[in-house]
Subunit: 318 residues, 2 copies
């Protein structure tokens, strides 16, 4: 039976209006499209609760500052818009994205300083980079990409979350070509960086290692580190040589889109016994438990729209 | 007096329809937006004539192949759409862009192989990276960027024209901060690459030098090389060390958005006598003359839409 809620496949906030996700459009001349000149963030809603939303907003604001963009809405307004997209969709498990672009130039305008940033947001059903069944059965088969290296931080700062995915998509095709599910990219100098949408952790000699440089400072990465520390497992944030990855006892990937995701094999060779490692398993379980912790999450009120969330209260970005 | 032509500010072809540029929108979930997973090209119309359109289409098709995307229309259809956007706009001098994106995923879909590419095109008034007055008065003040390096070809192939402009925009802000107009980026190892939307040429020891690696294979670059050869000026395509740029007698930039553009100063120091160099001047004049050459250009028929250009003849990409 078809849902009567037009937003049940997702709800977007674009150009000052809430619209069904299938109708959500971005101006073709927005430099967010024609220059990928933007930053964004994604927060998750799980069982009706937003997880670490303030951490995501902190990162978005820092990204805008680094790009020298002034967001076209206040932090409280952006927060309210994100919640409202979820409320309207009715989604209990959602992937909630917010994008700030440099804006739409007038005729002949090439100077990014003269543009007014725009804000877009949407909630869609929760996204899994590695689906739960695959996670339960040991995790993803991954490769170290040979055809492509990660864009270096001296070119594009990976701590400012961005859509420069050319290298990541090329790596993804290589993974498929080699019969795997996901690639991990190096920095071109023998160090692991990250993959399409996730950070990487390796359990090596009893300690968890994760790259420090050339990667997004993931919120799920941060959560996994906090959990590991609470379990008295040492965490080393620094260089992660590819050679360490090959001798890791356990490997897992972290992302808001899928959580703490076990790795079953690397370049066709099983990691550990190719079942979910015991440390990975403990961190993963704890990660999902935290989604109901009031210190890190809050419930979405799916009732009527509250007064403070009206479209009119947010100045238009049209 | 307002124009009665709704397309006079520009005409776009999106989702199977011709629309005024101000109404042209792209689905927010198109991976062309949320992954910058696309290639594109830009051809110019000058005084009612398309210049080297087939070269641009060759490059677009090659880019799609490299990205493993099948364009959703034939080459003849894309050609007809580009011409029709210009015809409807009535623009005599136009910047005509065509974009092929990976497409819009269904719910939960993360596999780029399962998407159907989409096509977008638009014609807007001709764009100048360096406006004609500035060109006449000696050209642009440029810098060699120190804050950012160009994305390396091992990460993202610059010969597949793309919107990964994070490094280029960062360089642009540095240029503004240093009182200049445009930046040139290095490869991080002392070699010149390119700048935001243009290739670089330097006249050094009586020969023109332009970088071979890490750059777009520009159509204007190609045209400038052909002109130089016709003038018996040797052209060396290879490494262009930054040190050569500092001792160049003349420097010019090439782009479909502005043509052959003189450089007046580098890092605040005049290039030559800071007037337009004589070789630059000759190449620039010849470049514009070629826009009326029937071997490289053809006239747009601004009359009624021809039968072959109807929307219905191109299968919808919706």
């Amino acid at each position: 039976m078809a849902s009567e809620n037009a937003f049940s496949d997702g709800c977007a906030w674009v150009e000052g209006e809430y619209v069904p996700i299938s109708e959500a459009r971005v101006p073709i001349l927005d430099t967010g499209f024609v220059r990928s000149d933007l930053t964004y963030d994604v927060a998750a809603v799980w069982r009706g609760r937003f997880f670490r939303l303030d951490d995501h907003l902190d990162r978005l604001w820092r990204g805008c500052e680094r790009l020298r963009m002034t967001p076209p809405a206040t932090r409280e307004e952006v927060r309210a818009i994100m919640i409202e997209t979820v409320r309207r969709s009715g989604l209990q498990d959602a992937y909630v994205e917010v994008v700030v672009t440099r804006g739409v130039p007038g005729a002949g305008e090439r100077d990014p300083r003269r543009l007014t940033p725009r804000l877009y947001a949407y909630a869609i059903p929760y996204v899994w980079l590695v689906n739960p069944d695959m996670q339960d059965q040991g995790g993803a088969d991954i490769i170290v990409a040979r055809t492509t290296r990660r864009i270096p931080p001296g070119a594009v700062d990976p701590t400012v979350k961005n859509f420069h995915w050319g290298d990541l998509v090329r790596g993804l095709y290589e993974a498929y070509d080699r019969g795997a599910w996901l690639p991990v990219l190096t920095d071109g100098d023998g160090l692991v960086t990250e993959g399409p949408g996730f950070n990487v952790f390796a359990l090596v000699d009893g300690a968890l290692k994760t790259p420090e440089r050339g990667v997004l400072l993931g919120i799920t990465r941060k959560t996994a580190m906090e959990i590991a520390e609470s379990l008295d497992v040492p965490v080393h944030v620094g260089d992660l040589p590819v050679s360490d990855l090959y001798r890791a006892e356990e490997i897992f990937l972290t992302s808001t889109a899928g959580g703490v995701m076990p790795v079953a094999s690397l370049d066709g060779v099983p990691v550990g016994d190719s079942k979910v490692g015991s440390l990975t398993s403990r961190i993963r379980d704890r990660y999902w438990d935290l989604h109901s912790d009031p210190a890190l999450s809050f419930a979405v009120d799916y009732g009527e729209a509250s007064d403070r969330v009206g479209t009119a209260s947010v100045r238009s970005t049209v």
